[in-house]
Symmetry: D3
Subunit: 124 residues, 6 copies
């Protein structure tokens, strides 16, 4: 594994914008290397892999987080991320609605609430 | 909600092939209407919605099921489904590998095991 | 699947009262058909099935949601629903306490907190 | 907390029959007191509480275990338990089908598979 | 199972301090015996068992609760508990960071947020 | 993030023995870099961190995996790992039994079944 810090940071900025960089910065005081794991591993290693475009990665992230239902803040971050990399509002909503099938109505309802919040912040 | 049985059945056959139709048929003896819910609601209502193409739906299904980790048989069904609707082998693998980020290494490892099994059955 | 909208809406009103109808209405702006899925499918198809009375359905809903622990708002909705269809306060509490056995103390504690909130709102 | 061993053992036998007693016995070699926790606490304390009849307890157990999807053997045990204490086959099936709403189709499908297995063993 | 109330209460006070006793007291109005289950069973039976020291028990509790991600209040309680029984701040952080491996980045991030909150309250 | 491959491989061998190295090797055909993520990131980055000894890491791993209940093969791997790095059989059992408190009886029972299997393989 080479040092993927620069590539990871660029990818993090592309997907999550300043909010992502700020989130990682906030981790400095409690767990300094944690931000590096997010940047170097999650974004630098996993998200930079070829074979799946960024839009599909973000929709898959939304699907996973909405189904799990345990991390609403990260779900909102990735809904923002999906829109940042060019997903349409409709694609986000459809991915969330599909959660009914795999994880039930409450998970989908909570996913929609997250989407509504993000859309409102962005004035969509 | 109109009767979406025909459209749902066609979509089920497109995604899951004969295996999907057989699965639904097997439910007849224990819960006759359950198969209709799969066909009319899951496939006829949700999967037929515009705004998200079938490939993205199947990759999102794989992301959700691999993250949850509670339904390995359905994960294999949707890995088959993804390949049936035209996803590349590589897209499936990338979606599963990304599970590391959202649900940890064991979930991703079990997802890879499911993919390996499906690829072997299909001679990929 | 016939059009079960009327029956589903009546059942939704019976179980969740005006709060349920309001919740479904709020979905209109983000995902117009989602409310129909709740009404036509969840309430019109599943909840209208014979073979299990409404009280048992609501206690089972509480058991499932308390065990999952990922949807506190829906748990409160179904605690209200259980009381609306005639379950005793004690039956709700017992169902939540039993969660200790199947999902551990934290899940049961969070379920009790949800119940306490609902009981307080209703002046029980 | 008084010693509820006798009451718990009787309740365990009533709900799970010889299979339950055998399961508890099997724990002796690895964790001798674990069986006592099942008997004294789970059955002697929780299951003996008034305010919820045994049928409702077992249906709630099925709802929780089917929604969680992580303990298929215990789900089968409680499907047997529900039938042992007088629940109708239909009530078990309805409780499992309702899982679609709260935890999605895969959880409900796996619950139905568990029910089919138990019904087959009992010749239902 | 003998009456382990005194031993359990002492252990609860040792691990969770006055916050734990207050939490149990708050349960009195809604489910009077629930507090006894926490004291007599969770602390009096399980936590008093020899073979694992209290520090390891609390780190294991943090690992389990951070991985599940469904009970943030109990996670904070056990982070406090770990510090109360002598775990170093660093051991808590390492246990939480390790969650990345078993349950993914969002679970670990939420665990770190819980730790940061507790450390701030204690002026660490 | 420097290249932690050598350190990670040594740690993997220390914790999981030949079984761990074989598992990683098996991933080569389906996802060649996945093994590197296990070695470089999970073991080379996370597991090599100071501040928590290996025994505590393995007990925390057991606690997390037993609570989640979705990865029995990895749970067995880490029970083996705990014994490999010097944990006593009793510490493993206590960590699993404690799962009752945080995730309920079925999770603890399945954890005990995993432990029994591993102990039997090792002739303990």
């Amino acid at each position: 594994m080479n040092n993927h810090h620069e590539a990871g940071l660029a990818r993090l900025r592309e997907v999550d914008g300043d909010a992502g960089v700020a989130l990682v910065g906030k981790l400095k005081t409690i767990a300094p290397e944690f931000g590096d794991y997010v940047i170097d591993f999650a974004f630098g290693e996993i998200y930079k892999r070829p074979g799946l475009d960024l839009k599909s990665r973000e929709l898959a992230a939304i699907a996973a987080l909405a189904a799990l239902g345990t991390a609403p803040a990260q779900l909102r971050l990735h809904i923002n991320g999906a829109l940042n990399v060019g997903c349409a509002r409709e694609q986000v909503i459809e991915t969330v609605i599909q959660t009914i099938v795999f994880a039930g109505f409450p998970a989908a309802l909570n996913g929609l609430a997250a989407a509504r919040e993000v859309f409102a912040e962005r004035g969509l």
